[in-house]
């Protein structure tokens, strides 16, 4: 999807100049973005970047210290009871009642959202199908696997067909199979026209799901755009991943001095570099790393991706 298309979409969420301090620490620093109807918008950043704090302000859980939030044409604050009906929140931590069955959880939160009667019944049935729990609907959720709980956690947020669905790192701690089914359901939602705000620290998820992505670090949006726009920011630099053991610290120091190398980051098990002209620099890089005492097990040249963008913008690797 291109930027041109989005300008024609009705705006669902508009965030301007959002700020949050905890003590002397500015956790969210002048954050602005907007999301249109049917758009999936990603907040991509490492742990502690401020993603959950932004989402808590957007959902009206905590007040902002400065800035404004407009949701479906109305201002959103913790006191905006009516406006909250537009939001479907899927918190980062599981938020379901262990002593209730899957169906009872859905019915309860559905009623809380003002659904009732036939509509509530139908939506509950539909959502149970969608999250693949129809045959386990009558079981207490404390007996569910982690993946099943996660899916129910998401289902509750979808129940009342919110204008904006907010998913806070919904795949953390989930097995690969459940993860894939979660990603598939999110992809399906966008086609139904729901606006989605999706936070993650996995760049693959952001790349796969999101129409536009904000790269966020230390409370600030470092860059924003479609995947293509973001990758262009790197100026066409390649990424080189070195895997191995030995003296990676000394290797990093040596590689930083090499002309054409932009950033180097990593740990004992490997290094990630951004470089101009990757293929041309491959030989000297391998030689320098080996000379500094690093034993290489594999070397990979990667076309620019969001990982490269993050490294380019912040000098840090995104992976944890």
């Amino acid at each position: 999807m291109t930027a041109d298309v989005q300008t024609h979409r009705a705006q669902v969420l508009g965030v301007k100049g959002l700020v949050k301090h905890y003590g002397a620490h500015t956790v969210v620093d002048d954050v602005s973005f907007h999301i249109g109807a049917g758009e999936t918008y990603g907040l991509l950043g490492p742990n502690g970047a401020g993603k959950t704090t932004i989402i808590s302000m957007v959902s009206g859980l905590i007040p902002a210290d400065a800035g404004s939030i407009e949701l479906a044409g109305s201002a959103m604050t913790p006191a905006s009871t009516r406006v909250k009906g537009h939001i479907g929140l899927v918190p980062q931590e599981l938020a379901i009642y262990p002593d209730l069955t899957a169906k009872e959880n859905l019915l309860f939160f559905g009623r809380l959202q003002g659904l009732h009667g036939k509509e509530l019944k139908h939506r509950t049935g539909d959502v149970l199908e969608l999250i693949g729990l129809a045959d386990r609907a009558g079981e207490q959720t404390k007996k569910f696997s982690g993946g099943m709980k996660r899916r129910l956690n998401i289902g509750i947020g979808l129940l009342h067909r919110p204008t904006l669905l907010i998913l806070d790192e919904p795949t953390v701690g989930v097995d690969p199979q459940s993860r894939n089914s979660i990603l598939e359901s999110v992809e399906g939602l966008a086609t139904e026209g729901m606006a989605v705000l999706y936070t993650t620290h996995y760049m693959e998820e952001a790349e796969r799901l999101c129409d536009r992505i904000a790269i966020i670090d230390e409370g600030r949006i470092q860059a924003e755009g479609t995947r293509g726009e973001l990758v262009e920011l790197t100026g066409g630099v390649d990424r080189i991943d070195l895997h191995g053991s030995g003296n990676t610290g000394a290797a990093a120091t040596a590689l930083r001095r090499l002309p054409g190398v932009q950033h180097v980051d990593g740990d004992a098990s490997g290094l990630t570099l951004t470089v101009h002209n990757g293929p041309g620099l491959l030989a000297p890089i391998v030689a320098e790393a080996g000379g500094a005492g690093m034993a290489l097990s594999s070397v990979e040249i990667v076309r620019p991706d969001l990982e490269s963008v993050f490294l380019h913008l912040t000098g840090k690797a995104l992976r944890d």
Binding site: S59, G60, T81, K84, E93, Y97, D99, L112
Partner: protein
């Protein structure tokens, strides 16, 4: 929201355990240790008392009658001349001899020192000890000038009488009431106090499943969903408070009913008792607002609630009657649990709504004041 909470609380069984099973078990244990000397109990054998009654007034006979009609044991009083009591007691194998002086009534009513001689039988056993304690207690009552009022008031007995066997003996002695016709000032038997006290004490735990459940929801993560839903914070808090209140009313009703059936205590008019239960549940629920303001976590909340429950419960007389005087007594009078037990004492004695107006006012006043106070306290816990 209320129905949902109730369903969960019942399903996770913690309410059933903490609000019903534990207090019932405690009642049973306490009842065994305090109330073992029940009428018809095999432990106390029928006893014979040899007594002289040369008292010119009424009190000597009143005392002997009280001894004879003790509900905890079958006592026969045989009257002989003062000089024969000692010999007769030894000869017949009686349990106790009592020699009441001729000027007994006169001495009591004029507040003079008096001595009542008792003779232990040769086969002196548990029964003799119990009888001596009872006579001792009665004499204390008499000389305290309380003969015409509330003689059955266990809490009115001097503390030394409340020790050991004497306490056990006193356990089932509402019949020590010498003056009749003052029913609505009546008091509970020790067993009744026990049942009422335990019900009141555990009520303070039970209501904690309401508002304090919000803290647990925060830890479970569901609070953020509630807060992000289109309902006002006031609605959420009220729903939780209502849950605590309903659980409290149900648990207290069950405990009082079970207690009175199992331990043979009667609390009087069900309608008036119901009013007392509603009032004390309101008072207890209001306390959870304050606790919710002062704590930061569910764990702290549980600890704080336990401390509050034990303090109010013990001061209210949940385990044993407590007496205080002066300022402390006034303070203890304002304890809703104490007011609840007092109220039940009044209904047990046949009192009606008008008679329990004061305890009701205390409990409802307490509810109003602590609800108000919780509004003024700085919020450390749940945002409301």
């Amino acid at each position: 929201m209320v129905a949902n909470d109730l369903r969960q609380r019942i399903r996770d069984k913690s309410v059933v355990i903490f609000s019903l099973l534990v207090p019932l078990a405690l009642m049973a244990v306490l009842n065994l240790s305090f109330g073992g000397f029940d009428s018809g109990s095999a432990t106390l054998k029928p006893a014979v008392v040899i007594a002289s009654s040369e008292d010119s007034g009424q009190l000597g006979d009143a005392l002997l009658e009280a001894v004879e009609s003790l509900p905890i044991m079958d006592v026969t009083v045989r009257k002989v001349a003062a000089g024969d009591v000692s010999r007769e007691t030894k000869a017949t194998g009686a349990d106790l001899g009592i020699i009441l002086p001729a000027e007994f009534t006169a001495a009591v009513t004029s507040g003079q020192a008096l001595s009542v001689q008792v003779v232990e039988g040769d086969s002196a056993g548990l029964e003799t000890d119990v009888l001596i304690s009872v006579v001792d207690g009665l004499l204390e009552q008499f000389s305290a000038g309380t003969v015409t009022a509330e003689a059955g008031n266990i809490a009115g007995l001097p503390h030394d009488v409340l020790g050991g066997l004497a306490q056990q003996a006193a356990a089932g002695t509402p019949a020590l009431t010498l003056s009749e016709g003052q029913a609505s000032a009546g008091q509970l038997s020790l067993k009744g106090t026990l049942v009422a006290g335990q019900a009141g004490l555990f009520l303070l735990f039970t209501v904690g499943f309401g508002v304090l459940g919000l803290l647990a929801e925060r830890e479970e993560g569901t609070l953020s969903r509630l807060q992000a839903a289109p309902v006002t914070p006031g609605t959420i808090i009220s729903a939780k408070a209502l849950v605590g209140f309903i659980l409290g009313v149900v648990a207290t009703t069950v405990l009082l009913t079970a207690g009175s059936v199992l331990f043979g205590v009667s609390f009087g008019s069900p309608a008036v008792v119901a009013l007392l239960v509603l009032a004390v549940a309101a008072a207890a629920t209001s306390l959870t607002f304050i606790v919710a303001r002062l704590v930061r976590s569910a764990e702290q909340a549980n600890i704080a609630q336990s401390i509050v429950a034990m303090l109010l419960g013990i001061a209210g007389g949940a385990f044993f009657p407590i007496e205080a005087s002066g300022f402390l007594a006034t303070l203890m009078d304002l304890n809703p649990i104490a007011a609840f037990i007092r109220g039940l004492g009044i209904t047990a004695g046949g009192g009606g709504i008008a008679d329990v107006a004061t305890p009701l006012a205390i409990m409802l006043g307490f509810a109003a004041v602590s609800t108000l106070a919780s509004r003024l306290l700085p919020d450390r816990g749940v945002r409301a």
